[in-house]
């Protein structure tokens, strides 16, 4: 049913640290690698070696330049499903293929019911859903539902593939509905924010803003480069020859 559960027992989600993300794309490739064989498999690539590469990815890392009064900085920004508390992508679904689980709040697509009308992707402000033109159905992040409950994996591996892959520990996984959980404490401590809260989708995932600049860094301006003087003699001759 595409009606939303009144509440969920848990609110599983991700917390992404924009301070430490280095934009290495490890989460992107780990996600693709796991999920192209996982719950929503395959993550089709269309024309992968041609001139018009296209394909389904659940996680994409953008890079932005954030300019404020204290200067500019590069911010790498991973974007994936936020497993919203009131996801319109679920309620607009005409077939019941999209659903939000009452047990843990994960938003999933039943690929056998999806008719590929694409309305859910229009209803998602975050661009979390991508259409698989090859299979004809919509696909999205599963929060690695086939890893986090997987008894065949060692307990420390029961986290989403993107979290397991992150070399800078910029990605955290846990229950954001439990204020005592480590992940909720992290959000509290670092002032984690929701994306586009004004639209009222109540995303579960949180983003930790970059930390304030340190005042300890050296503030020595590099000397400006001197223009090279025209030289005479042998070196001047070489300079002129190389300049031609």
């Amino acid at each position: 049913m595409t009606c939303l559960p009144a509440q969920t027992d848990k609110k599983l989600g991700l917390v992404i640290d924009l301070d430490t993300c280095v934009g290495c794309q490890a989460c992107v490739t780990a996600c693709k690698e796991w999920n192209t064989g996982g719950h929503m498999a395959p993550l089709t690539d269309v024309d992968p070696y041609g001139g018009h590469v296209d394909g389904v990815w659940f996680n994409r890392v953008h890079s932005y330049e954030h300019t404020t009064e204290s200067g500019s900085r590069t911010v790498n920004f991973p974007r994936s499903c936020l497993h919203c508390e009131t996801p319109a992508c679920v309620t607009v679904c005409p077939t019941g293929a999209s659903y939000k689980r009452a047990s843990d709040g994960i938003v999933l697509v039943d690929e056998d019911k999806c008719i590929g009308c694409k309305l859910c992707s229009w209803a998602c402000p975050y661009g979390a859903r991508e259409f698989d033109a090859d299979v004809g159905v919509m696909k999205k992040c599963t929060l690695c539902v086939d890893r986090i409950y997987n008894d065949n994996l060692a307990e420390e591996d029961r986290v989403p593939a993107c979290v397991a892959a992150c070399p800078t520990s910029a990605r955290h996984f846990g229950d954001l509905g439990d204020p005592a959980s480590a992940i909720s404490q992290l959000v509290e401590e670092r002032g984690g924010v929701a994306l586009m809260p004004e639209l009222g989708y109540k995303p579960t995932n949180r983003y930790l803003p970059p930390r304030a600049r340190s005042e300890r860094a050296a503030k020595v301006d590099a000397p400006a480069l001197e223009p090279i003087k025209a030289e005479g003699g042998f070196l001047g001759w070489i300079d002129r020859m190389l300049s031609n």
Binding site: T2, C3, V56, H66, E69, V92, L119, C124, Y126, G136
Partner: protein, 312 residues
């Protein structure tokens, strides 16, 4: 938003079809139009033909059209599902009305009841279509109080212009229907101008700062996650140059509103068959204009996902 022709044609054709069906149901059932086999047959075939062609066209937009039947199940939460249910349910009174009015040549009584129900079904279906777009918060140009009335006004407008063309062609036109078609066309024009005016002045609170959670200052996209256009950009990143937009708005106004209004005004003064020719021309011209209008409705709509790609 990408203006997929299947959806542009679908909403335009079903709008006109349901508008015509509603008018035939009301005017035929309540004996404003005399029951006549050929008039009824052509009228109902035109109305239902436009609806069926539109609905079939919409399934062309689906990735798995063979599963389309599943779309009738989620009417409790989904406007698209409600549209599916309402469109199919409307066929029941429409068919009963068609049998009574066209095949049996009756009006009043149960035929009138079926006609009124078919008209009600048509109105409900057009409302559900409008709500599909009006309910989408990420697209500010659609999520406005102008969208639902627009679908209703345009269905009434194209439906009444078609009904007038039909009646004029069978030489049973009336100045009341002609006046209705003309007034509806002018109402459509006013509503479209008001909508454009509203959209052009729209101040959207959602921006690259709220999209990324980076407060204050400016957020500039310096690198995309991919080198080629992906599904998101193909489907929701459609951009139209401002100069084309301005030109297409003029074409829309000329074809959908101004030319039909002039033709209908002229039809008042013309004898048959010239009034019929002017009325049919008005309907054809307006349908073409509404296709341009609907194309622009999509092309000028901006989805919030484009903020992530640095498109303001």
């Amino acid at each position: 938003m990408h203006p997929a022709f299947s959806v542009v044609f679908f909403t335009t054709a079903t709008g006109a079809g349901y508008g015509l069906l509603a008018l035939l149901g009301l005017l035929g059932g309540l004996e404003f139009i005399p029951a006549d086999f050929w008039l009824g047959l052509v009228g109902m075939a035109l109305a239902l033909g436009l609806i069926v062609a539109g609905l079939l066209s919409s399934t062309g937009h689906l990735g798995r059209p063979e599963r389309a039947w599943r779309a009738f199940s989620q009417w409790r939460s989904s406007w698209l599902s409600r549209e599916g249910v309402a469109s199919v349910a409307t066929f029941i009174p429409a068919s009963i009305f068609g049998i009574g009015w066209v095949l049996l040549g009756k009006s009043g009584g149960w035929v009138a009841a079926a006609g009124v129900l078919a008209a009600a079904g048509a109105v409900v279906t057009v409302c559900t279509t409008g709500m599909i777009y009006a309910s989408l918060k990420p697209i500010a140009q659609w999520h406005s109080r102008y969208t639902l009335p627009a679908y209703l006004i345009f269905a009434a407008m194209t439906g009444s212009v078609l009904a007038n063309a039909l009646l004029q062609s069978f030489s049973v036109g009336s100045s009341a229907i002609l006046a209705l078609a003309l007034l509806a066309t002018l109402a459509g024009w006013v509503w479209k101008l008001a909508t454009w005016r509203y959209n052009d002045r729209l101040e959207i609170p959602t921006n690259a700062n709220t999209a990324t959670g980076l407060a204050g200052g400016t957020v500039r996209s310096i690198e995309w996650p991919h080198t080629e256009e992906n599904y998101l950009l193909k489907e929701m990143g459609f951009r139209i140059a401002r100069k084309h937009s301005a030109k297409l708005r003029r074409i829309t106004q000329a074809l959908a509103f101004i030319a039909p209004a002039i033709l209908l005004a002229i039809a008042f003064a013309l004898p048959w068959p010239f009034a019929a020719i002017a009325s049919v021309l008005a309907a054809v011209c307006q349908f073409a204009g509404m296709l341009v209008e609907r194309w622009l409705f999509f092309a000028e709509a901006k989805h919030t996902v484009t903020l992530y790609y640095g498109r303001q």
